[in-house]
C-alpha cells in the first residue's frame, strides 16, 4: 500500500506535466471511457453484483455522467478505492470523478483542492451495536471499544464526540468496511461507527440483521457528494448539472418509463430545455442536445435511483429523510435550467 501510494504520487507527478493542460471533459471524450472512483464494496452505494457489474446509488451517478458525456452508460471503468487511496487517485487523475460516499469538508475543498459539485446524499455519522449489549443511546458508550474506518472524517468526529461528552473509548482502526464488519461481528469491538447510510447498508448484508440496532444519535453532518479536481470548472459543471438534471427530472415527474413520451408531448418550457427539445443548454456545457435525456434514461430520476438502490423496498431500507425533494420537506433542490 505504502509503495503503491508513493508510486502513484510519483508517477502522477511525472505524467501530469503533459495532462495538466487539457481539460477532463476533452480527456474523457478522447478516451471514450469515464474513469469513476468507486467504493471497494458498500452494498447499495457501490458494490459489484453477482455478475461483477458495479451497482448502487453512487454508481448510478457515474453511469448517468457517462451517458451524458459519451452517450453510453456502459462506458464507465469503476476504480475501487479505499478511504485511504481515494484522494490520491483523484488528485493524480487516475479517476475523472470520485463518487464514493466522500464527505464535503472545508479542508478537502480548500486544502486538498477538490470541488464537491453537489450533495447527492445528506448523511450523518451513527453507531451500530448488537441488541444484547443493552445500549440504547450513544451517550452510554463510555469505555467502549469502537471500530472505525481509518482515513475518514468519522475518525475525527468520533474523537470529538467522546471528548464533548467526557467519555473514553478504545479505537480499533480498520482499513475498510468489510474488515470493520468482520471485527464488529467477531465482537472485537462493541460498536461500529460510520455514516448512518453505510451502517444501514452494512446491516443489510449481515446474516442476523435483526440483532443489530443503529443508535438514534447522529453525531455529525456528512454531506456526501461527487468530487472533481479543483480548477477544472468545465468538467465540474458537467457533473454538477448532470446530477441536477436527475433531481429536476424527479421534480417534474420525468422518469425512466415516460421520458420519451414526455419529451415529445410536454409543453413545459423548463422540461423542454432540460430534455433538449428547446434551447441549447447542452452546447453550453460542451455536450449535445440530448445529454440530460440520456442521463435520466439510464436508471431514471433521483427518486428512482434512490428507491431502487437504498430505498424502503430494498434490504437497506433507508427513508428519504433529508434527501427528499425540497417540495417534500427535504434538502434536494436543483437550480433552474435556464
Amino acid at each position: 500500500m505504502k509503495k503503491s501510494v508513493f508510486l502513484g504520487t510519483l508517477s502522477a507527478a511525472a505524467l501530469l506535466a503533459g495532462v495538466a493542460g487539457a481539460g477532463t471533459l476533452e480527456d474523457v471524450k478522447a478516451r471514450g471511457v469515464l474513469n469513476c472512483g468507486s467504493n471497494v464494496g458498500l452494498t447499495g452505494f457501490g458494490a459489484p453484483d453477482a455478475n461483477g457489474e458495479y451497482q448502487g446509488f453512487d454508481v448510478a451517478l457515474c453511469k448517468a455522467v457517462a451517458a451524458a458525456v459519451l452517450g453510453d452508460a456502459s462506458k464507465v471503468k469503476f476504480v475501487p478505492l479505499t478511504g485511504e487511496t481515494r484522494f490520491t487517485a483523484l488528485a493524480s487523475s487516475e479517476v475523472d470523478l470520485l463518487v464514493r460516499n466522500s464527505t464535503w469538508t472545508f479542508s478537502r475543498d480548500v486544502d486538498l483542492k477538490f470541488d464537491v459539485v453537489a450533495t447527492n446524499y445528506y448523511d450523518g455519522q451513527g453507531f451500530m451495536v448488537k441488541k444484547d449489549l443493552g445500549v440504547s443511546s450513544a451517550k452510554e458508550l463510555d469505555g467502549a471499544t469502537v471500530c472505525i474506518q481509518t482515513g475518514t472524517t468519522t475518525e475525527l468526529n468520533l474523537a470529538d464526540f467522546f471528548k464533548a461528552n467526557n467519555m473514553t473509548y478504545t479505537p480499533v482502526n480498520v482499513a475498510d468496511d468489510s474488515e470493520g464488519q468482520r471485527q464488529y461481528l467477531a465482537g472485537a469491538c462493541d460498536t461500529y461507527t460510520t455514516d448512518a447510510s453505510g451502517l444501514a447498508a452494512s446491516r443489510a448484508t449481515m446474516p442476523d440483521a435483526d440483532n443489530h440496532i443503529i443508535l438514534p444519535e447522529i453525531i455529525s453532518k456528512e454531506p456526501l457528494g461527487p468530487m472533481v479536481r479543483h480548477g477544472d470548472n468545465v468538467w465540474g459543471d458537467v457533473v454538477r448539472w448532470t446530477f441536477f438534471a436527475l433531481i429536476a427530472a424527479e421534480e417534474y415527474g420525468v422518469n425512466k418509463a415516460n421520458i420519451e413520451e414526455v419529451a415529445t408531448t410536454t409543453t413545459n418550457p423548463e422540461i423542454k430545455r432540460l430534455l433538449g427539445t428547446e434551447g441549447d443548454l447542452g452546447a453550453m456545457l460542451g455536450l449535445d442536445k440530448d445529454w440530460a435525456k440520456r442521463a435520466i434514461a439510464v436508471s431514471g430520476n433521483y427518486g428512482e435511483i434512490f428507491e431502487a438502490n437504498i430505498g424502503s423496498a430494498t434490504p437497506i431500507k433507508l427513508a428519504r429523510g433529508l434527501n427528499a425533494l425540497w417540495t417534500q420537506g427535504g434538502l434536494q433542490y436543483a437550480p433552474p435550467f435556464r
Binding site: K2, A20, F87, D142, G143, T150
Partner: protein, 443 residues
C-alpha cells in the same frame, strides 16, 4: 657525459578520453554520473512544477497541527489534542516495539529450530523441516491475518467473563474465566496485571486508589523529559540489577581463576542466584510493589495492561515467519563448521550439548551474523503490514491517518521513508559492530 632522454612526452589530446584505456573508464563514469544527476534534477523539477500546477505547497508545517484522532496503543502520553508529529512518534515507538519483540522471539526460535533441524532424531528434524518449509513459503501477510483471525475469533468476549446475579442464583459459572485468576484473554486483547508502587503510602488506601484507571505509578514517580516520561522505579530497578550483574561477573571470573589454578570448579550457582535476585527483590519490596489485577467493568476490562491482539498477532506472525529464515541461516552456519571441530571436542570429553554451546555455535556466529542482519531488517520493514490487523504503527499513524487527514502525501511518504531508512541503517550499524566483535581475528 651521456643523457638518458625521457620517453617523448605525449601531449594530451581530447580523443584520448575515448581511445586511451587510461582515461576511458573515467570518461564513462563521468558521463553516467552527469546523466544520473540530470535525471534526478528532472524528477525534482517535475515534482515541483506539478505541485505548483496543482497549487499545492511542500512544507512540513502541518506536523505541528492538532492530530484530532486517537490511537489505541500508546507507549507514551498521547491524546487527540497532540500534534501530528506526536502521533507519528507514537507510531514510531509502536513500530520499534513490534520490531524489537519480533526480532527477539525470531532469534530464539530460529536458533532452536536451526539446531533441532540437524538433530539425529528423525522425527524432530523432519518436524522442523516441515515448520521451515511451511512458514517461509507462505506470504507473511497471510500469517499475520491468520494469527489475528484466530485470536479474535476463538477467544471469549469480555462479557463472557461476567457473572450476573441470575447466573449466581442458578449456580452457573461465567462462560469464561481468567487464566490463573489474573490474566484475561479476550478477543480484543490479553489483559495482564500492571505493577504499581506504594512507597511511603498507607497500603489499603494505595491499593484502592491504584485500581482507578489512569492513576499514577506511585513509588519514586516519573521524571518528565519533555518528549516522554521516564519511570524512576524502572531506572532504580535497572541500576540495581545492573549492579547485580556486575558483581556476578566478578564472582564468575573468580571461579574461573580458581578453576585455572586448581582444576577444581567451586560451586557458585546458588551465590549467583542470590546476587542476581535478592537486591532487586528488596528494592521492589521497599518501593511497595503490588499488582493491579484487571477487572471487568462496563464494556471492557479496566486496570492492568492491555496487550491488544493486533500487536500479538503482528509480532507473533512476523517472528514465526522470520524464525524460519533464521533457522536456515543457523543450520547453514553450523554446517559450515568442519566436522573435525566436533570430533575434537568429543575427543576432549565434552558432551554434545556443551560441544554445541562452547565450540560450534561461537564459530558458526561468524557465518550467521551477516545474513542475520538482513533478516532483522526484513522483519523491521515488514512491520509496516500492521494496518492489516489495525495495529497503529508508523505506517498507520504518519503514513495512514495523518496522510489522509492532511492530504500531504509527498511530505508524509518522504518523512516515513527517511525514518525507515534511518532505523534500518542503525540496526545495520549495530549488527555490523557485533559482527566485528565475533568475527575471526586475523593478523
Amino acid at each position: 657525459m651521456t643523457f638518458v632522454s625521457d620517453a617523448p612526452k605525449e601531449n594530451f589530446r581530447l580523443g584520448m578520453l575515448i581511445y586511451d584505456t587510461r582515461y576511458r573508464s573515467l570518461t564513462i563514469q563521468v558521463v553516467v554520473l552527469v546523466l544520473f544527476l540530470l535525471f534526478l534534477s528532472w524528477l525534482v523539477n517535475n515534482t515541483i512544477a506539478n505541485l505548483e500546477a496543482k497549487d499545492r505547497t511542500f512544507d512540513f508545517g502541518f506536523l505541528l497541527n492538532r492530530a484530532g484522532y486517537d490511537i489505541n496503543q500508546r507507549l507514551v502520553d498521547y491524546t487527540n489534542d497532540s500534534s501530528h508529529l506526536r502521533a507519528g512518534f507514537i507510531g514510531l515507538l509502536n513500530t520499534l516495539l513490534a520490531a524489537l519483540v519480533g526480532c527477539t522471539i525470531a532469534t530464539v526460535l530460529g536458533v532452536f529450530i536451526g539446531v533441532l533441524r540437524l538433530s539425529k532424531n528423525w522425527l524432530v528434524s523432519r518436524l522442523m523441516t516441515v515448520y521451515v518449509e511451511v512458514f517461509r513459503n507462505v506470504p507473511v501477510l497471510l500469517w499475520i491475518l491468520l494469527a489475528a483471525t484466530i485470536l479474535s475469533e476463538t477467544a471469549p468476549q469480555p462479557k463472557d467473563f461476567r457473572s450476573t446475579p441470575e447466573m449466581e442464583a442458578a449456580g452457573e459459572a461465567p462462560k469464561a474465566s481468567m487464566l490463573f485468576g489474573i490474566i484475561a484473554v479476550t478477543n480484543r486483547g490479553t489483559v495482564i496485571p500492571e505493577p504499581k508502587f506504594c512507597l511511603g503510602r498507607e497500603r489499603e488506601a494505595c491499593h484502592t486508589e491504584s485500581l482507578q484507571p489512569g492513576s499514577p505509578e506511585g513509588g519514586l514517580g516519573v521524571i518528565d523529559l519533555g518528549i516522554f516520561k521516564v519511570s524512576l522505579n524502572l531506572l532504580a530497578l535497572l541500576a540495581v540489577f545492573g549492579g547485580s550483574i556486575f558483581v556476578n561477573r566478578r564472582l564468575v571470573r573468580q571461579a574461573n581463576a580458581t578453576q585455572e589454578a586448581t582444576g577444581e570448579r567451586p560451586v557458585i550457582w546458588w551465590k549467583s542466584l542470590a546476587i542476581l535476585t535478592v537486591p532487586s527483590m528488596i528494592l521492589l519490596w521497599v518501593l511497595g510493589l503490588h499488582w493491579v489485577v484487571p477487572e471487568l467493568k462496563g464494556f471492557n476490562f479496566v486496570g492492568g495492561i492491555n496487550v491488544a491482539h493486533s500487536f500479538t498477532a503482528l509480532t507473533l506472525a512476523l517472528a514465526l515467519y522470520t524464525a524460519a529464515f533464521i533457522a536456515e541461516i543457523v543450520r547453514a552456519g553450523i554446517q559450515a563448521i568442519s566436522r573435525g571441530q566436533s570430533e575434537a571436542a568429543a575427543a576432549l570429553g565434552l558432551r554434545p550439548g556443551r560441544t554445541m554451546n562452547l565450540v560450534i555455535l561461537p564459530q558458526a556466529l561468524r557465518v550467521i551474523i551477516p545474513p542475520l542482519i538482513s533478516q532483522y531488517l526484513n522483519l523491521t520493514k515488514n512491520t509496516s503490514l500492521a494496518i492489516a490487523v489495525s495495529y497503529m504503527d508508523l505506517r498507520g499513524t504518519l503514513g495512514g491517518v495523518t496522510l489522509n487527514q492532511t492530504g500531504k502525501e509527498l511530505e508524509c511518504m518522504l518523512l516515513m521513508m527517511g525514518i525507515y531508512l534511518t532505523i534500518s541503517l542503525i540496526i545495520s550499524a549495530l549488527m555490523n559492530m557485533f559482527n566485528r566483535a565475533v568475527r575471526l581475528k586475523e593478523r
